[in-house]
């Protein structure tokens, strides 16, 4: 259990988080730590509660009990739109882009929290706003290159292939300049080659951009090859935590994935 826990305090700490929806307990006292520079794989069968946990981390849900700490501070009093400024960026399981906006504008929205403006200055296009836009554009152009989106940069997102849209979503989340990036099933719907590329991309985001990563994924090959640590959820409970090798041998995990004891 303590495999990867260094002495440094965790960047993101999930403490005994409980979430209920009416009768069902979607998260039943989940706890784990995410350390700076880690790639943590969060796996579990469908309905295990992975997306629910992400929605707690991005403050769309409020846990019934427990706490979530970022750099040691509780984030539960914050609102969803505060999270980018705190340092948490995310992608959505079923791509949630701004359909009628261009790829470039989608990514620019990611830079919203890192920039300032008001209706008045924007309507008059004041010089300080123009300077800021130039800075945002530089960031966005760099991300467009980084994710190889140059050819589609000025096209509306709707109508682009699914794999491309997934990359736009990652670019948009990176425009936040997050400390921790939450990726919800980024490999879903991708073909074999694209999954390989995605694995290299996620590693590069961690290695070259210094972003800590929490990865929810069903693609075991991908999770096991790039994660430093893996947490396994099943029916809202954490059933295992450890290195990929440890988790793969855990009998509870094998049982959960084969539709074991709980049902």
């Amino acid at each position: 259990m303590q495999a990867n826990t260094a002495s440094a305090p965790p960047q993101l700490a999930v403490r005994d988080v409980v979430v209920r929806f009416g009768g069902i307990v979607a998260l039943d006292g989940i706890a784990f730590d995410l350390h700076k520079g880690e790639i943590l794989g969060l796996i579990g069968p469908n309905g295990a509660g992975k997306t629910t946990l992400f929605n707690c981390l991005s403050r769309l849900y409020t846990p019934a009990s427990g706490d979530i700490l970022y750099d040691g501070n509780s984030v539960l009093s914050r609102r969803p739109h505060d999270m980018p400024a705190i340092g948490i960026g995310r992608s959505f399981q079923n791509v949630a882009l701004f359909q009628r906006m261009t790829v470039r504008d989608n990514i620019r929205v990611g830079a919203h929290a890192a920039s300032r403006s008001d209706f008045f200055s924007d309507a008059l296009h004041l010089p300080w706003v123009r300077r800021q836009e130039a800075a945002v554009d530089a960031t966005v152009s760099e991300l467009i290159d980084y994710l190889g989106l140059g050819a589609v940069a000025d096209l509306p997102v709707e109508g682009l292939p699914f794999g491309t849209r997934k990359r736009v979503e990652i670019a948009r989340a990176l425009a936040i300049r997050p400390g921790v990036l939450l990726l919800d099933e980024p490999a879903g719907g991708l073909n074999h080659d694209e999954v390989g590329e995605l694995g290299r991309l996620i590693k590069s985001i961690r290695d070259d951009r210094g972003v800590t990563i929490l990865l929810v994924e069903h693609h075991m090959g991908l999770v096991m090859s790039i994660s430093d640590k893996v947490v396994v959820l099943s029916f809202g409970r954490k059933i295992a935590e450890g290195t990929p090798a440890e988790v793969q041998q855990n009998p509870d995990v094998i049982a959960a994935y084969l539709g074991g004891p709980a049902e």
């Binding site: 739109h81 995310r90 959505f92 929290a113 008059l124």
Partner: protein, 358 residues
């Protein structure tokens, strides 16, 4: 879940792990993209300059009544521009913009009639008051979406003119009698008659309004508004304070429409509660849809439609003008469901395709 639309709807959308676009009436209106490609930009600029030249010369060739009509067209255009910021850019529906138009008109009329304020000063004041009213209305409207928002704004449009009839306000509003305003002369000895002067004043304000709207749409604020329109949950997760921006969009939209109302009062020289029936709100929505939801220049064509087409209908059949107007509207919707903006976009796309292949 889809029937009982409440604030929790957003949460549930996130819960269902789809987090796709907002549900609601606005989605049913297809929004044309602004013509983007560079060749098209050239065509658009040329067309814009041609329109501007026409606009600058028209009052020297037209009679005073036509000048008055063209002025009203521009005024409706400004009001529709405001509605477009709310509906086309931010995705919020309003069947009640006639109310903001009325508040702007009454602000101007009361200031001039009761306090002897110069007409030019009434315009910014009407804008500010309508911004505040719109913002405050936008706050509770945050809880409403689609058809429910349409109903709430409908109520606003119906109730507001009645407020001006109430006896506590009668001292200022003159109740059902209304307020008569005298027509301003051209200042600085400009060689223009009052109709020409008001036309140019309106044109200048309309141009400023248009440039500001364009700047806004192309800015961080505009992107936030469009992001909310396309996917409010994702917009929030990108750091957009969706509640604040939606209320501000209501405020700015009302500001535009209120300035238009103030200009309208000055140009028509008379207002009464019956000048601002629910029909006005419907007309503004019609103008928005005809021009193209989400396409800013469409406001001008929308203004022209609601100014002139009822007259054309009247000429076609005196007794059945309402029915003819309705028939023309249905035909328009059938022929160009995405409005003139959509038609233009389709035409330009076809053009650039042909020039590529040919």
């Amino acid at each position: 879940m889809s029937v009982n639309t409440t604030t929790t709807d957003a949460r549930q959308a996130a819960a269902s792990t789809t987090a796709t676009g907002p549900a609601g009436a606005v989605k049913a209106v297809s929004l044309p993209e602004p013509a983007a490609a560079s060749g098209n930009a050239k065509i658009m600029r040329t067309a814009g300059i041609a329109l501007l030249i026409m606009g600058l010369t028209a009052p020297f060739m037209a009679g005073n009544f036509l000048i008055f009509q063209l002025t009203m067209m521009l005024i409706y255009g400004i009001a529709i521009l405001g509605l477009n910021i709310l509906t086309g850019i931010n995705g919020q529906f309003s069947l009640g913009h006639g109310a903001f138009y009325a508040v702007g008109a009454y602000t101007a009329a009361i200031m001039m009639d009761q306090f002897g304020v110069g007409y030019l000063w009434t315009l910014p004041v009407a804008g500010i008051i309508c911004f505040i009213v719109g913002f405050l209305f936008g706050l509770p409207a945050l809880r409403l979406e689609g058809i429910y928002l349409a109903l709430a704004t409908f109520a606003l449009a119906v109730v507001t003119p009645q407020l001006f009839k109430l006896s506590p306000f009668e001292h200022w509003t003159s109740g059902v009698m209304g307020i008569v305003i005298s027509k301003p002369e051209a200042p600085l000895g400009l060689p223009l008659n009052p109709d020409q002067w008001l036309y140019f004043l309106t044109l200048a304000i309309g141009l400023v309004a248009y440039v500001c709207a364009r700047n806004l749409v192309g800015s961080r604020t505009g992107r936030a508004l469009m992001a909310i329109r396309d996917n409010p949950i994702a917009a929030g997760s990108m750091g957009v304070n969706t509640a604040l921006f939606k209320s501000l969009a209501f405020g700015v939209s009302a500001l535009y429409t209120g300035v238009a109302g103030a200009l309208g009062a000055i140009v028509v020289q008379y207002i009464s509660p019956d000048s601002f029936t629910f029909t006005l709100s419907v007309a503004l929505v019609v103008g928005l849809v005809v021009g193209g939801v989400g396409w800013l220049p469409g406001a001008l064509f929308g203004g022209a439609f609601i100014m002139f087409v009822p007259n054309i209908a009247e000429e076609l059949s005196k007794g059945l003008s309402g029915a003819v107007y309705g028939a023309i509207m249905i035909l328009m919707m059938y022929a160009i469901p995405t409005g003139l903006g959509g038609l233009l976009k389709a035409a330009l796309t076809a053009l650039s395709k042909r020039s590529k292949t040919g």
